[in-house]
């Protein structure tokens, strides 16, 4: 047992920081308060994880919150990505001379919403109960919708409205599915023992009525699937990602989607324990394959950098879902590992892409050329990140994809694995086509702005993410692998 309730502190930190930001007298204070919030919560997450690794799981007395290895994985990537984007925001819009400067009180609002967004996502990770989980996820929608619409441009309003409506509708479904699960538990043991605490549900799993659970799964998958960006429910995703401020896009793509998948994983943990029940597997594989294939086609014809990256998120959520569908130790391990890798890689690309479009004054890749010669540092990061995202070894994404494919071939799902490979090949082609057009070429066709910019925070943020992108492919630190293994155990026992 630890000295301090780290889990509660972790929830408190962003809120406190947000409060500080709201009363911050100057940009400097606001920025530093936000960054401090990010740093502290990251430290708390690390402390929490060390406890989880030693003790197994941390529970809060009322049983509403609990942190086990699975939520640990989510917390880890949330902490990393959150810290990175908070830090990046400082350079991005934190000062008067930033590429996208905003007034002080809008800056306050921005930081506040980001921190609240972080809070809700932490809550998602710590919730011990499907109901609370739902509330937290809906909370993320509300905060992030405000962030997506942060710029009051027409496009921003449009994007945020679509985002709000679609995700809310989806989440109503999710709530309904949750209710049905509750109903199922009620049906098995009567009103007295009914619960939404998944530790309880897991014990009840063998007794649950498959019919009800299937119905529940339909609603849950549509609900959380919308949020996770599974095709064809992904339609809000490119709009939101392309219109939000870049750090928020990073946060959405790297953090939010994972939260939704995490919710589905919690459900999966229940259904895998139901004898002879494989409906969830079907849904995971089906949605996964559909997402990967559709995303591949979208990527081929996408010219806008941020939308391109958004479709890549769809693709990678598909890969993760396929990994979960393949199941088994290998599949789940690959999927969880892929969650971390994709989060880091995608965040890196969004942030570096932010630099690119800030200096090229456009997000249209067809208009950029010769970026590698014009911006060596950013160009290199984009190049490496892009290759990593496309699944080129020895970067981390390749390793997790390799594990997932291996799981597929080992479990005999040859067709699914082959389709996945096909889609990956198309995606690779598409990404390379767009990326190389922008990076290569002798001289930029249009002038890059050579105004000296603040780069300290940018460098720090990228420096935080880049090692994960590059290093994790070959060298998985044993604590992390231990965490992942325990998380896999949490899901499929």
């Amino acid at each position: 047992m630890s000295l301090l309730p780290y889990d509660l502190l972790l929830l408190a930190t962003p809120v406190v920081a947000a409060a500080l930001v709201m009363v911050a007298p100057s940009r400097r204070v606001a920025n530093s308060a936000a960054v401090a919030g990010g740093v502290v919560s990251a430290v708390l997450v690390l402390l929490l994880l060390s406890e989880v690794l030693s003790g197994g799981s941390v529970r809060e007395p009322y049983g509403l919150l609990a942190v086990d290895a699975l939520s640990g994985v989510l917390l880890l990537l949330l902490a990393i990505v959150g810290l990175a984007s908070v830090v990046y925001s400082v350079d991005y819009l934190g000062w008067e001379d930033s590429p996208h400067p905003v007034s002080l009180e809008r800056l306050r609002r921005y930081h506040t919403f980001v921190l609240l967004f972080l809070f809700t996502m932490f809550l998602v990770a710590e919730a011990n109960n499907l109901g609370l989980l739902w509330i937290a996820v809906e909370g993320t929608t509300l905060c992030s919708a405000l962030l997506v619409g942060f710029y009051h441009t027409k496009r921003a309003v449009e994007a945020s409205w679509k985002y709000l409506v679609l995700c809310t509708v989806g989440l109503v479904f999710a709530l309904f599915g949750t209710l049905l699960l509750y109903l199922a538990s009620e049906a098995s043991v009567g009103p007295a023992g009914a619960s939404l605490d998944w530790n309880v549900l897991i014990t009840l799993a063998p007794k649950l009525d498959p019919g009800l659970v299937r119905l529940a799964l339909v609603f849950l998958f549509i609900g959380y699937g919308t949020k996770a960006g599974f095709a064809p429910l992904h339609v809000w995703l490119p709009d939101a990602h392309s219109e939000a401020p870049t750090p928020v896009s990073a946060l959405l793509s790297a953090g939010l989607l994972k939260c939704a998948v995490y919710a589905l994983l919690r459900v999966d943990a229940i259904t895998v324990r139901m004898p002879g029940f494989s409906f969830a597997t079907w849904l995971f594989l089906g949605f996964g394959l559909l997402s990967v294939l559709l995303a591949a086609l979208f990527i081929l014809v996408q010219r806008d950098l941020k939308r391109l990256l958004a479709y890549h998120s769809v693709e990678h959520m598909g890969i993760i879902s396929i990994g979960i569908g393949f199941g088994g130790f290998l599949g789940l391990f690959g999927a969880l590992f892929h969650m971390i890798n994709h989060a880091a890689t995608k965040a890196t690309l969004f942030l570096a892409g932010g630099n690119l479009s800030a200096s090229a004054h456009t997000k249209d890749l067809e208009e950029v050329s010769g970026a590698l010669t014009a911006l060596p540092a950013t160009g290199t990061v984009l190049l490496v990140g892009g290759l990593a995202l496309a699944g080129v070894p020895p970067f981390s994404v390749f390793t997790s994809e390799f594990l997932i494919l291996t799981a597929g071939f080992a479990s005999g799902d040859w067709a699914a694995s082959a389709l996945l490979l096909l889609a990956l090949a198309i995606v690779f082609g598409g990404l390379m086509m767009h990326l190389m057009r922008a990076l290569l070429g002798a001289r930029p066709h249009q002038g890059f702005s050579t105004v000296p910019r603040r780069f300290l925070a940018t460098a720090l943020a990228l420096g935080l993410l880049f090692p994960i992108v590059v290093g994790l492919g070959l060298l998985l630190p044993s604590p992390l692998s231990e965490l992942l293994r325990q998380a896999v155990k949490v899901v499929n026992g």
């Binding site: 109901g131 609370l132 679509k162 009103p191 019919g211 009800l212 996408q302």
Partner: protein, 219 residues
């Protein structure tokens, strides 16, 4: 035996919820939709109270009160004010004809029955028969959201969906426990606020609340 009349009352209230949503499917005036929603919520509140009484689940009184205060009074008034402030024209413009909407409502019911019907009835759970109704209401809400042009009416559609879910929650599970109830309610409230905010922004930037005007982002 003594439960029978209460059960029937429950069924009736559920029917009211169903019918209100149906009417809102075929009605052409926005304000009427809001009022229908208010009525529906009131019926929901009644359901909550009744269930609380029948199965002595005191928490549900509170829930009922919340629903009444929030869904039946607060939100509708907010919406009507909003309609006035935004000068939302009062006629609902639909993407599909009224007849189709009506038939769609029927279809929702049939689908719900077809899907939920075969599920084994649960002796322990009273009013399991309400499940199809709540599914229907959810579907109708979804239909409203997706076939009404005005963003304003989309909001109403979402609220109707939420009501459907609440119906299931109340009638089948005696609620999820106080904390969760409040959490859900709070979410609903925030949703309303945020929705209102965006509606204002939309009015500012597009000078209309017609969701069809939002077509800039594609591909």
């Amino acid at each position: 035996m003594s439960l029978a009349p209460g059960q029937q009352l429950l069924e009736v209230l559920a029917a009211v919820v169903l019918v209100t949503s149906w009417i809102s499917l075929v009605h052409r005036r926005v304000a009427a939709l809001v009022r229908l929603y208010a009525a529906q919520s009131a019926a929901m509140a009644a359901v909550a109270g009744l269930v609380a009484y029948l199965y002595n689940a005191p928490i549900l009184y509170l829930t009922g009160a919340t629903i009444f205060g929030l869904n039946a009074v607060l939100i509708p008034t907010v919406l009507l004010r909003l309609q006035r402030d935004l000068r939302v024209p009062d006629e609902v413009n639909m993407l599909v004809s009224v007849r189709t909407s009506g038939l769609a409502g029927l279809g929702c019911l049939l689908l719900a029955v077809a899907v939920v019907g075969p599920l084994t009835p649960y002796a322990e759970i009273p009013a399991a028969g309400l499940l199809p109704i709540s599914v229907t209401v959810v579907l109708i809400g979804l239909f409203l959201t997706s076939t009404r042009r005005k963003a304003f009416t989309q909001v109403i559609g979402m609220l109707v969906m939420a009501n459907g879910v609440f119906l299931a929650g109340l009638a089948l599970t005696f609620g999820l426990g106080l904390l969760l109830e409040l959490g859900v309610a709070a979410n609903l409230l925030i949703l309303a606020i945020v929705g209102r905010l965006f509606l204002f922004r939309m009015k500012d930037s597009f000078d209309t609340v017609d969701a069809d005007a939002l077509r800039a982002l594609e591909g």
